[in-house]
Assembly symmetry: C2
Homo-oligomer: 214 residues x 2
Amino acid sequence: MAAPSPEAERQRDKDRTRADILEVATREFADKGYTGARVDEIAARTSTTKRMIYYYFGGKEQLYIAVLERAYSAIRALEQQVDVEHLAPEDALRQLAALTFDHHEANPDFIRLVSIENIHRAEHLAQSEVLAGLADPALGGLTRILERGRAAGRFRADADPLDVHMIISSFCVFRLANRYTFQAIFGRDMLDPARREHYRTMLGELVIDYLTAR
Amino acid sequence: MAAPSPEAERQRDKDRTRADILEVATREFADKGYTGARVDEIAARTSTTKRMIYYYFGGKEQLYIAVLERAYSAIRALEQQVDVEHLAPEDALRQLAALTFDHHEANPDFIRLVSIENIHRAEHLAQSEVLAGLADPALGGLTRILERGRAAGRFRADADPLDVHMIISSFCVFRLANRYTFQAIFGRDMLDPARREHYRTMLGELVIDYLTAR
DNA sequence: GTTAATGTACGAACTAGTGAGTTCACGGTA
DNA sequence: TACCGTGAACTCACTAGTTCGTACATTAAC
């Protein structure tokens, strides 16, 4: 009778329902934290019911883990964007730093989830088979950049990829994760668009100056 | 009847009761977060009862704010320790960075409270009349160090005290606040004692290299 | 004896999770 | 093609257990 119209509004759609729940749950968990988030609230904002959350995910904790997995998997697209091979090591590094800077700024919910997960000592992340040990994809490119910079004698010999990654991350994460207390204490909004280019440039210089010092 | 013995176990002691509650509450809030913390649990770990928490602090939120105020006030001792005037700008800066590094490492509960407060968008900190606008005491010394370094032509002209403070803070805070997810993803414990001196030195070089580049 | 401090028991509201029944899509079958 | 069996997707109402906060009684101190 009814033609198979995949774009028509379907009342029963497994994937759509799951995706809907996940999206709403991401906002709720990022907003209120794991303990502060309410399953009833997530259900209310969904086009489906609470029973479906338990049907598809099992419980609050498993839903939260699914949210973490989806959020982390979104980062993996980052690696492909770095043009490692055709740039001078300094420029490649500056580009990687700027890319990380932009990515963090564009994904405040992800940063909040990471902060929340650290408050919980990564106990949920440890339960995820998908995520445990899944290294940041940006590391591969960074390793190659440092190798080339060292081989050319332009970077310090003791430069460690993970250390450099930590410097870049700490700067970008701090700017988002601690902006509220920083603003309350010092009266400066680290996310003020007028200061954005300043911070973006500063990060690049910070890393390059450290690697090329002496 | 009983002689006024201030050290004897007193059954009624306003200050002692308050201090006891505050200390227990600090651990509970830092451990579980604001929403995760339980008033009954705090009361149970105290030598007094839940009724006293409401008697002295009014409620869970006011208790949490009192905990924040106490934690922040503990930092104020930091400023006096920097020997700003008798050291070369580079050495004074290195000392300040190392001091911040040590202080953060020694006060993980404080870092957790700051993370938690940022998840809540500093809404509680904003309610505190004591804390709102109370700038980090380390800033004063830092400003003088940078002035001397610039005057001597050894530091870059555009060096801003708050920016430098942000660099130092982000490094130190990240090392503590994000250690769990960092460990889970990369398998490296940023708090491993064997790596402590490496990070401590690295922070000093990072800041100095940035300020003296070119 | 008056007031500050303390102990106990309780309640109203909330919260994660579930039991049980309903509707829909779809393929086989007479 | 009309019917039916089946399992997946879905709805609704309910509960057992928490959790913050408080009413009320009690005790120590001056």
